[in-house]
Amino acid sequence: MTALITLKGVNKYYGDYHALRDIDLTINAGEFFSLLGPSGCGKTTLLRTIAGLEDVSGGVVMIGGKDMAGVSANLRPTNMVFQSYAIFPHLSVAENVAFGLRRRSDLSKDDKARMVEDALSMVGLSGYGKRASHALSGGQRQRVALARALILKPKVLLLDEPLSALDKKMREQMQVELIRLQRHVGITFILVTHDQEEALVMSDRIAVMFEGEIGQLADPETLYRRPNSRRVAEFIGKMNFLSADVLALGDMIEVDVAGLGRVSVQAEQAPMALHKGAAVAGVRPETLAILFDGETTDRKLVDGVVDEVVYYGDMTYYDVRVAGIDQPLNIAMKNLIGRPVLEVGVATKVVWDERSLVLLA
C-alpha cells in the first residue's frame, strides 16, 4: 500500500474559529476512505482543503508526493461530487459530463463524445446524454456528478455527503453501487458522511472526527468493536456504559464492573491507556442476551427486570434493570421463531460475556 495523500499538521481557522486542529493523516492509493463525524466537526472543511477549495491556515497537504501549497483546485488531481451535486442547469447531461474536457486539446471531438458515453454507461445512464439536466431525479443527478468527476480520471474522488439528499431506499442502492464503482475504477475515494452506518458499510478505513480533530482512525470492525474513547463509542452504534474499577493492569486486566462483578479481560480490550481505579466498561446491546424460558447457556448470567420494550419487527430492544447499575441495560434480541416478546415488569436473566467488554478511561 502506498500513501497517496499525506496531511501534516493541517490547521484551519475561520477568524477565531479553529475548524481543523493539527490534522495528521495518510490516505492510501486505491482506498475507500471515510471522514465521519457530527455536523460542524470539520470533515467537509478537511475534504475541501484536499480539493483546494479551501486554503489551509497551517500545515502541509501532499497528493502523490507533491506539496499542494499554492496549487488551486483546478490544477489538483482531485475531483469532487458536491453535496448539492452542482449540476450545471444550463447544460445538457452530456455537456455537464464533458465540462472538464474543454481544455483537453489532445482529444478529438469524437474521442470526447466516446468518453462521455463510456462515463455515462459506467454510472448506468447510457443514452441520457441529450437530456436537459434540470429534469433529472436526485439519483440521476448524483450519477451525472459521478460521471463528470470520474471522466477526468482523478487520482482521488472526493464525495461530500453524496447520499444525504436521497431517500432511504435509493441511498442503500447507491451505497452498493459506489462500492462496486470504486472497485471497478480503482481510484481512491474519500467520502464525507455523518451517517455511521454508511461509513461502516462502505469504507476500508474511517477517520472519526470531533471538533476539528480526528478521534479515531481505524477499519470499520475495529472502530465498532474497540472504540478508543467514549465519544467514538457513543457516536457509532449503541453502547451500554457501566462504571468500573480497574484493580490490576498487565496482559490481563482485573476489573470490577458495576452490576456484573469482578472479571479479567484481555489487554487489547482497553484501546486507550488505563490507570488503576475508576474507568468505564462498554458493552454493545447485541452482545448481551436475554435467557428465554427453555434456553440454556454456559455463559455468565445476571438477574434483571424488564423495564422497557421497543419492538422493531425483526428485533426487540429491551431495557433491563440490574442491581448495582443506575441505567438499565439495553439489550438487542433477534425475534427468532418461538421467542416471545416479554412484557414490562417480567423478571429475567441477562447473558453476558467479559470478552465483549471494552474498557475506557
Binding site: 488551486s72 483546485a73 450545471f88 442547469p89 434540470h134 477526468l152
Partner: protein
C-alpha cells in the same frame, strides 16, 4: 371578493393617467381637454420633423445606455459580493450602497452640482448626468441582480474550478450564463429609469438638454402640448415593451436556474 373589487379599482387609478395619453395624442385639438374634437396623426408627424427633439432623444439615449452598462457592472460586483462572500461590516457596506434608493433626488442633484461646479469648477456635460444616474440606478440593479445571484448554488463555480477551470473562466462558463437574464433585465431597468429621470438631469445638464428636460420646456407652451402627448404615447409604448422583455427574461432566468418564481422586480 370585495378586496378584488378594490384591487381592480386601484389598478384603474394607477392606469387612469396613462390611458388618457393616446386619447389626446390622436385628438385633433391644440387644447388638452374634453370634449374631443376628431382624429389626427399630425402630432406624431410634428415629432418627426422636430430636430431639437431629435437631439434631446439622442442625448438621453447615450446617457441611458452608459448608465445601464455602468450601473449594471457595479450592481454585478455588489450582488455577487453580497450573495457569495462573507466579509467585515457587510451589512453596513451593503446598506450604504443601497442608500441612494431613499435619498431625495433633489439632494443628489444639488450636492453633485455643488461639487462639480463650485468645488471642482468643471463644466456640466452628459457625463455629470451619467455619474448621478449611475448612483441612483445601482441600487435598483443590485435588487434585481440579487435575485439572480442568490438563486445560484455557490458550489456551481467550485465544481467548475474542481473540473479544471480557473476562477475567472468558472465565472464566465457557469455563473455568467446563469445570471445573464438578470443582467439584461437590470440593464433594461437602469435604461428606463435614466431615460425618464428629470430632476437630476434638470440640475446637471449642460447646454444640450435630455429628453425629459426638453419635454419640461415644451410644457410651458400650451400649443406644444399635443406633441408632448404624442411623444409620451411613444415613450409609454416603448417602456411597456422594454419592461415586458425584462420581465420575461427574469422569468426565463428563474426557470433556467430551476427556481420557483416568487414574482416581482424587487
Amino acid at each position: 371578493m370585495s378586496l378584488r373589487v378594490y384591487a381592480i379599482a386601484y389598478l384603474i387609478f394607477l392606469y387612469a393617467p396613462i390611458a388618457l395619453l393616446p386619447i389626446f395624442a390622436f385628438n385633433d385639438a391644440r387644447i388638452i381637454a374634453f370634449p374631443l374634437s376628431g382624429f389626427t396623426t399630425d402630432w406624431f408627424a410634428a415629432l418627426m420633423t422636430n430636430t431639437s427633439l431629435h437631439t434631446a432623444v439622442k442625448n438621453s439615449l447615450f446617457i441611458a445606455v452608459m448608465t445601464a452598462i455602468l450601473s449594471t457592472l457595479l450592481g454585478i460586483c455588489a450582488a455577487r459580493a453580497g450573495a457569495m462572500y462573507r466579509f467585515p461590516v457587510k451589512a453596513g457596506i451593503m446598506g450604504f450602497i443601497m442608500l441612494p434608493l431613499v435619498l431625495p433626488e433633489i439632494i443628489v442633484a444639488v450636492s453633485l452640482l455643488v461639487v462639480v461646479v463650485q468645488i471642482f469648477d468643471m463644466g456640466l456635460s452628459h457625463w455629470t448626468i451619467i455619474a448621478a444616474h449611475v448612483l441612483i440606478c445601482t441600487p435598483f440593479c443590485i435588487a434585481i441582480l440579487n435575485g439572480a445571484f442568490q438563486n445560484l448554488d455557490p458550489s456551481m463555480e467550485e465544481a467548475a474550478m474542481d473540473l479544471g477551470e480557473s476562477r475567472f473562466s468558472a465565472f464566465r462558463l457557469v455563473t455568467l450564463p446563469l445570471v445573464m437574464p438578470g443582467i439584461i433585465s437590470s440593464m433594461l431597468i437602469a435604461f428606463t429609469i435614466s431615460l425618464d429621470e428629470f430632476i437630476i438631469a434638470f440640475f446637471l445638464s449642460g447646454v444640450s438638454p435630455t429628453m425629459p428636460v426638453y419635454i419640461w420646456g415644451l410644457m410651458r407652451f400650451p400649443a406644444q402640448l399635443p406633441v408632448v402627448m404624442a411623444l409620451g404615447t411613444i415613450l409609454v409604448a416603448l417602456s411597456i415593451l422594454l419592461l415586458t422583455i425584462a420581465e420575461l427574461l427574469r422569468r426565463r432566468g428563474m426557470a433556467r436556474a430551476g427556481v420557483k418564481d416568487k414574482g416581482g422586480f424587487l
